[in-house]
């Protein structure tokens, strides 16, 4: 479990992280979103004990990161934004060093290395110099390094950057599997990644948390944007004013030649009436689909709203 409590980090005058709080439970994968420079990397560096916060505290499995640095670091696996690689080592030497640094000894090192090499799919580059690997493979070695001591808590800063599409699918599945019994924080700019593998999401902007919840709760909270997409064969016979007149319809717009988007107010379910109305116009109904706001809509909404406020 990770709990971040009112963490603030200043670099001189610049406030990189501003009073940030959130919790990630064991067995939960949290997606950490935010525009460039929002403070994701800085927050993760504070969680992993790389740098101290200016104010606030972080607890990992109920231990304060700065009071028990060694105990906490032993159970965290961190994959930084730039994989921390020694280019002059072979993959084997590097992983052995990473395992020893985390306190593994003897036979356990070999077992641990065998396991992550298999997990991250790097067995065929095992004896090559890290410096000679392609970007995607370096990224995988960086991930292997974070997993080698089988940590209970994983902090991954943009883990799938630079991977090819097939690798992305593999690594996402790997993270999803790991997340079943670990605590995982994962930052990314790919919203689809969050919807496919994360249980919850925290969105940060300008150093402040602007949304933090389970994904389905977030969607529900933003359900005021609920809309219905209607596609018809004969758009010319549609009487927009008649649809506007239906109680519970907020707005109606043509989204393209043949499709109509009807925005609804959240509390009334008028799908039946709406469908009846269209039907009576005999416009040739082709499609009738409820649209819930995607993470993308939510992201853009909270981030731009925040911008408007400041």
């Amino acid at each position: 479990m990770i709990s971040v409590n009112s963490v603030t980090k200043r670099f001189g005058e610049r406030v990189a992280v501003n009073n940030v709080s959130f919790t990630v439970e064991t067995g939960e994968i949290m997606g950490f979103l935010g525009p460039n420079g929002a403070g994701k990397t800085t927050t993760m560096r504070i969680i992993t004990g790389y740098m101290p916060p200016t104010e606030g505290s972080v607890r990992v499995n109920d231990m304060d990161v700065f009071e028990h640095p060694y105990e906490v670091k032993r159970i965290i696996g961190y994959m930084p934004e730039h994989p921390p690689l020694y280019l002059e080592m072979t993959v084997k030497e590097y992983l052995r060093f990473a395992a020893e640094l985390r306190g593994l000894r003897g036979q356990r090192i070999k077992e641990a290395i065998d396991r992550v090499v298999e997990l991250c799919g790097i067995s065929h580059v095992f004896n090559r110099l890290v410096g000679n690997l392609s970007k995607g493979y370096r990224q995988r070695v960086g991930l292997a390094q974070a997993l080698v001591h089988d940590p209970e808590v994983l902090v991954l800063d943009e883990p799938t950057v630079g991977l090819d599409p097939r690798q992305i699918v593999e690594i996402r599945q790997l993270i999803k599997d790991l997340g079943k019994d670990k605590t995982v924080i994962l930052s990314t700019h790919i919203l689809q990644e969050v919807t496919t593998i994360c249980d919850s999401v925290t969105i940060i902007n300008n150093g402040k948390v602007v949304a933090s919840d389970k994904i389905e709760n977030l969607s529900r909270r933003f359900a005021e944007k609920l809309s219905i997409l209607i596609r018809v064969r004969r758009p010319e016979v549609i009487d927009i004013d008649k649809i506007r007149a239906i109680e519970g319809v907020e707005n109606v717009q043509w989204s393209d030649e043949k499709s109509l988007r009807v925005y609804l107010s959240a509390d009334v379910d008028i799908r039946e009436r709406l469908a009846g109305e269209i039907f009576s116009m005999s416009a040739g109904l082709l499609e009738f689909r409820t649209e819930t706001p995607g993470l993308e809509d939510i992201f853009i909404k909270v981030v731009t709203e925040e911008l408007n406020v400041t």
Binding site: T42, M51, P52, E71, L87, E88, E100, L101, G103, Q145
Partner: protein, 256 residues
């Protein structure tokens, strides 16, 4: 000292797998070898001249005439070679961002400093002790005063302890190796020549400056004088430099 061994092994391996160690060793052996042959030739010439004049000169023996200046030469050469051994130590970890791996692993800063420092000093010592053939060659043809050879090498090794500490300190200040190198040479030059060439007008001040000088304490040891104060000075110099290095690394965590 958490995880000292893996860090220490890694540093040593990095030295042995990179060309820099071999280059430093080769340059050092070539230079000292050249000076060695030169002073042997000089020594025998002077010996022939002196034997003609008939009156023996005090301290005219190969240990004092050949080895002592060589110890000084070794120290002077290492003012320039030290940064080649040390500039990488911290600067490279920062540049390659591997600091993030070290500082998020259960590793203490003390272990990092100690591992890097000891590895550098061992590399230095290997290079220095590779000149041990010299006293044996002399002893084969003539004879050496082994106690003076011993204190001489002790002096060079302790001097190296101080020089490596300065180098490590400079490397912790920056992520650019070249800056670390220039700083190291600057600081070493000051502590080498202070009280000597860099003397001052006042007699009293010069004495104080000599007390601070690395060279003065080292010089006494190469004379075969085993004075605990010199040893304590050279050791304290290293410890202070290492302590400051530890502080610098600790403080720089706040800046990220």
């Amino acid at each position: 000292m958490k995880q000292f061994w893996p860090l220490f092994k890694k540093e040593l391996r990095t030295y042995f797998t990179s060309p820099i160690f071999y280059i430093v060793g080769a340059v050092f052996l070539a230079l000292t070898g050249y000076f060695f042959i030169n002073s042997i030739i000089n020594y025998s010439r002077m010996g022939i001249q002196l034997s003609g004049s008939g009156n023996p000169i005090e301290n005219f023996n190969p240990t004092t005439v050949v080895m002592k200046p060589l110890f000084n030469t070794m120290g002077t050469i290492f003012i320039l070679l030290t940064p080649l051994i040390t500039m990488r130590l911290m600067a490279e970890e920062k540049k390659a961002r591997t600091m993030e791996l070290l500082m998020t692993s259960p590793v203490s800063i003390t272990a990092i400093v100690a591992a890097k420092y000891l590895a550098a000093w061992i590399i230095y010592s290997i290079v220095i002790l590779s000149t041990l053939y010299m006293p044996f060659v002399i002893n084969y043809y003539s004879s050496v005063v082994w106690t003076q050879i011993f204190t001489g090498y002790l002096g060079v090794l302790l001097l190296g302890a101080s020089m490596m500490a300065v180098g490590l300190f400079c490397s912790s200040l920056t992520d650019k190796q070249i800056i670390a190198a220039v700083l190291t040479i600057g600081i070493l030059v000051i502590f080498w020549f202070i009280g000597g060439v860099l003397g001052s007008a006042s007699e009293e001040l010069t004495r104080i400056m000599r007390g601070l000088s690395l060279f003065a304490h080292f010089d006494a040891l190469t004379d075969g004088l085993f004075d605990l104060r010199d040893i304590v000075y050279l050791l304290s110099f290293s410890i202070v430099a290492l302590f400051i290095t530890h502080r610098v690394i600790d403080m720089s965590r706040w800046k990220g």
